[in-house]
Amino acid sequence: MLSSARFSVKNALRLNSRFMSSTTEVPVREALNMAIDQAMEEDDAVYVMGEEVAQYQGAYKVTKGLYQKYGERRVIDTPITEMGFTGLAVGSAYKNLKPIVEFMTFNFSMQAIDQIVNSAAKQYYMSAGDIACPIVFRGANGIAAGVAAQHSQCFAAWYSSVPGLKVVAPYSSEDAKGLLAAAIKDPNPVVVLEQELLYGTPFPMTEEQMGKDFVIPIGQAKIEREGSDVTIVTFSRGVGISLEAAEELATKGISAEVINLRTIRPLDRETILSSVQKTGRVVSVEDGWPQCGVGAEIAAMCMEDDATFDSLDAPVQRLCMADVPMPYAQNLEEAAVPTVGDVVESVSKIMVRQAAA
């Protein structure tokens, strides 16, 4: 799976670099680091807290060098005690600090989900606007390679169902830098779902994107590739495989539009629905489970909107993780998650459907 994720990213790079000039290749983890560093430089209220974020330099090295630069007051190693340190960070945000809480992986955020949902997400509402909670929860989310059931799962659907939370999921380095910067500046709790398999992947970045003023507005999707026959709606790792699938579909004469959601909550309904109305077909691609997943929400959205529903030429297709806990063995793991081949096949099937009709 790791190798296929990398392969798809390479193809995506080839596509991107055609349109870009004077860019630098920056791995996603460095883009994240850049966003945190710039925010800390600008605002003393921003601090980083989590397990192994300081002396160890981050389990995935996202916080590399920050402890050396900002010291122990602002880059803080915690005991392994998610519920405790998450609640603590939330309290400090009530008093206008801007914590960036790193979960080593989002799997461990389950230990703290009460503090995220009940203490952070609802505070502004409960206090009738008296106490905001400007906090970022970030870390590796989604599938990983060979780490089995407890360490390989996507929490996009979980967190995106909670009013009061914003949820973003970057794909590229540009996404990572711009979305994390926006998350830190946002006065609300924002969950930033990163993808471990992409941390080391380099993407081209422009000078502007690397600059300190660059943000990607939360709530706006990006059309990564324009097309006219089918809309592929996806996020995070799914963007890479979808772009690769779109390339393959093009060789078969099928023009696929690929939407990178970037934000899972609030969803950019306008971009999604107008694209589906244009193409008449939609396939969602995610690494989360099917039931009540992000794809389920996309499908429901297309059903609920009259104009979109009327424009559909084929049933909505969902690609998602198999409805099982993640297995360990490589062949089973590969069978459990959507691949480039799955996307190509799904799209091809709904195109055939029109020919028959």
Binding site: S92, K95, Q115
Partner: protein, 374 residues
């Protein structure tokens, strides 16, 4: 101004402290009257809540503070607006004395827009940031780590040469058993935060009395930190582990309760394969441990130095074991990969017994039409 002196000698019990509050204090008439008025207002307000609740003018949950008035009043006398205070859902009184009015509190309970939190919060959710009051929190115990976060801010923004503002997290004796209180207490102690863990022990966590919910004798929550006995053992010495654990097992098996055990040991490798294990400790430290404290060398030396085995014999044993492991590894490598059914086996058990997977009617696969159907 008239005043009186009061004996306090039987009002404190100290734990792990060399200093203590004074054994007597003086209060003026003015002070005492102020306390009385505050406390009596709280009492009457809570009784009014009781009445109105029974008349169905207050919805949902409603937790009253009557009987506990002295705590809020006494604390408030010592605190400034810059000090922070967070409590549970039993919060009407704190909302009142941290900048609120009886009318605002009751209007909130009646669901009015002029209420303390515009009718959005109800009985459990009052806040007043300007007066350092942060709720009014509905999840038992969850306010404590949050309160320690308020203390974290106080230290983060402390002014050089001045005392810090403090933050008080109040919770009941029922909440005192929440694991997250220990988690945040640990960090507060580690980072020397100006955090006050204030257990308002009213003897009952809902309907469970302290005797039935805490192992601390007499429900003495101020001794919570170290009620359980402990032993530290050299975990690099197999004999120490054996004898130590004999002692521990004997203690625990005979109805004396639990024991904390700390085994002093060492990890040679990094935390995981992605960690070289050298950024946060020195190679010398690892080498020193290997040469001086290695647990296997300890046993080997014990055998040889006591004339129980020759050095050559030990070498033979080591060689044999290395061979056995290598052979087992090769055999394992030849095994088959799991069949595809294993992808969806054991998601659910059929009857709780071993190896009986429940046949599911439908298992969604990445592609819908490749889903598994019974």
């Amino acid at each position: 101004m008239s005043s009186a002196t009061f004996d306090l000698s039987s009002t404190f019990s100290m734990h792990n402290l060399d200093t203590a509050p004074p054994t007597s204090t003086t209060a003026t008439t003015e002070e005492l009257l102020e306390y009385f008025e505050t406390m009596y207002t709280i009492r009457r307000m809570e009784i009014e809540c009781d009445t109105q609740y029974k008349s169905r003018n207050i919805r949902g949950f409603c937790h009253l503070y009557d009987g506990q008035e002295a705590i809020a009043t006494g604390i408030n006398d010592v605190f400034t607006k810059e000090d922070s205070w967070i409590t549970s859902y039993r919060c009407h009184a704190i909302a009142l004395i941290r900048g609120g009015s009886v009318r605002q509190v009751l209007a909130e309970l009646y669901g009015k827009h002029e209420g303390y939190t515009k009718g959005k919060g109800g009985s459990m959710h009052f806040y007043n940031k300007e007066h350092g009051f942060f709720g009014g929190q509905g999840i038992v115990g969850a306010q404590v780590p949050v309160g320690v976060g308020l203390a974290f801010e106080a230290k983060y923004n402390k002014k050089e040469g001045e005392p810090m503002n403090v933050a008080l997290a109040a919770y009941g004796d029922g909440a005192a058993n929440q694991g997250q209180i220990w988690e945040s207490a640990n960090m507060a102690a580690l980072w020397k935060l100006p955090a006050i863990f204030c257990c308002e022990n009213n003897n009952y966590g809902m309907g469970t009395s302290v005797e039935r919910h805490t192992s601390n004798p007499g429900g003495e929550y101020y001794k919570m930190g170290n009620a359980i006995p402990g032993i530290k053992i050299d975990g690099m010495n197999v004999l120490a582990v054996r004898e130590g654990m004999k002692f521990v097992k004997d203690y625990c098996a005979n109805g004396n309760g639990p024991m904390y055990v700390e085994m002093q040991t060492y990890r040679y490798h990094g935390h995981s394969m992605s960690d070289p294990g050298t950024t946060y400790r020195s190679r010398d430290e690892i080498a020193e441990t290997r040469s001086a404290r290695d647990p296997i060398e300890f046993v080997k030396k014990a055998l040889i130095e006591n004339g129980l085995k020759e050095e050559g014999e030990m070498k033979e044993i080591e060689k044999r074991i290395r061979k056995e492991v290598s052979k087992a590894s090769k055999e394992a490598m030849k095994g088959e990969i799991p069949p595809m059914e294993e992808l969806y086996n054991y998601v659910y058990s059929e009857d709780g017994s071993k190896d009986k997977t429940e046949q599911q009617k439908f298992i969604r696969m990445p592609q819908y039409d490749k889903s598994i159907k019974a």
